[in-house]
Assembly symmetry: C2
Homo-oligomer: 331 residues x 2
Amino acid sequence: MTLVNHRFTLAARPVGLPSPTDFQHGEAPVREPAAGELLIKNRYISLDPAMRGWMNDARSYVPPIKLGEVFRALAIGEVVTSNGAPLAPGDHVVGLFGVQEYATVAAKEATKIPPIAPLPVFLSTLGMPGFTAYFGLLDIGRPQAGETVVVSGAAGAVGAVVGQIAKIKGCRAVGIAGGAEKCAYLRALGFDAAIDYKAGDLGAALREHCPSGIDVYFDNVGGETLDAALARLAMRARIVICGAISQYNATGKMAGPANYLSLLVHRASMTGMVVMDYAARYPEAIAEMAGWMAAGKLTSKEHIVRGLAEFPRALNMLFAGENHGKLILEV
Amino acid sequence: MTLVNHRFTLAARPVGLPSPTDFQHGEAPVREPAAGELLIKNRYISLDPAMRGWMNDARSYVPPIKLGEVFRALAIGEVVTSNGAPLAPGDHVVGLFGVQEYATVAAKEATKIPPIAPLPVFLSTLGMPGFTAYFGLLDIGRPQAGETVVVSGAAGAVGAVVGQIAKIKGCRAVGIAGGAEKCAYLRALGFDAAIDYKAGDLGAALREHCPSGIDVYFDNVGGETLDAALARLAMRARIVICGAISQYNATGKMAGPANYLSLLVHRASMTGMVVMDYAARYPEAIAEMAGWMAAGKLTSKEHIVRGLAEFPRALNMLFAGENHGKLILEV
């Protein structure tokens, strides 16, 4: 049996927003697993803002994707063949299996998923976005009960979890998102306030909804939103720099936060976080967040797009802000 | 006896670099001290970059100077009359006595200076600039032996102490300053390397002199220098935001650090500090730094300009980078 693998490779490095010609949709034979390897059939592929950065030939926390290489992506799949590996056919696993139908990987690259939630949740709240929210907020933001936590990109996979954990910890949770529909979603999740940044003066809205200032600001978007938050800090505020989706497709020089001296005035800090640093503690996050989900305190929402061929279009939904919940491609 | 007080008041709020017409040099009668007050004759007045910020009508960590008000300044003076206060004529004291010959203040506004160093040193290494260096570097920068500490404005009152303490703590100390003369001064103080930012490519110089990256960056200047340092961070670097002298006279929108996402890539932090927060611990800093000075490990350098009338011109020396060591006006 020789299976055919449909896959996306990186065809060109984009300038600005990725275009369809930056991706190559092609076929290749599936490689049989060698000793200690698994053949995995992908079921769900995670689409994340970070993928845009991997397309650039630039130094970052992981190397760029090479031209002609299968597009890097986290995915959930089912073990088809196990060649002496400690996993059995039918097991569900998560790992960097790429934007393709099949992946042949060393067993150590695959982590078995426990049957405690639907599979897509392990790419969402019980996966990287959830871990990012959990460790970024709790370890770096260090919110105390009664404090005000503001999160940008609040309707996204990370942001929605940040706000809900802030509420669990007794904080006032304020979300920034684009559009009335997303804001209604945030209020339904229990956020104390939701600010539609497209609707008007973000600074005025932050003054209204954060009367004592911002104690923790969890930033997913950068740009003017970061500047508006800096202008509204409380004393000894903590800013978690998790991402800057507003800047990822910028073609000119990136705009830095002009209000950064607010850090001085407010004795505040701004700290970058990369979730992989917490890998050893993922089980702790899964256990606690699964408990919150079971208790009805934490809701996980996924936005599933069907069909591998939709990959280029679906990826750009992230940058247009068109996804509602964690964006996932179903193979 | 009615003494005449020569003094500077704030006449106008400057746009950009202060001009002579922003200051009013005038006379007023000296007010006799009421019960519990002191009459102080100023001897040395501290000239600091922060004074530029106090001239703006803007929210900061202290209120702006009011128009017509005596220009706020830290100074050292001699007690002339003590009206029931626990200090005696002839005592030397430090406090916010303003840019004037005489100050009448409540006794609690004046701190007695111990006779362990020349008076100007208490406006320099054993005063605010020294405390800023000491607590900013040790409490926020937290340098470990073997790490690389970079400081901008290195030939200034704060920067020179930062680099010397970095050496005392076993670090590699790299200073950034303007001009060959200042760089020679830094090397004479024991800095491992001094970079003349006016001489060429700052980024290339940081790559050369910080082969393992920057572990602690102590920023006094902001602007392009901060961006160059951000581009050269080591993992888990700490940036201390102490000031931004390159930006204080900016008339357009301030430029933010375009490379701030380096905080994310390097899991680094950027934290603002205001020295007044450490007031309760000043005696600790004086004791330790006086010990280092006595042991010949720490050198204090003051640049003294004589004559109260020189105030406006002398203040602008800070922004032109013309001072060598802590700038002080001798009354």
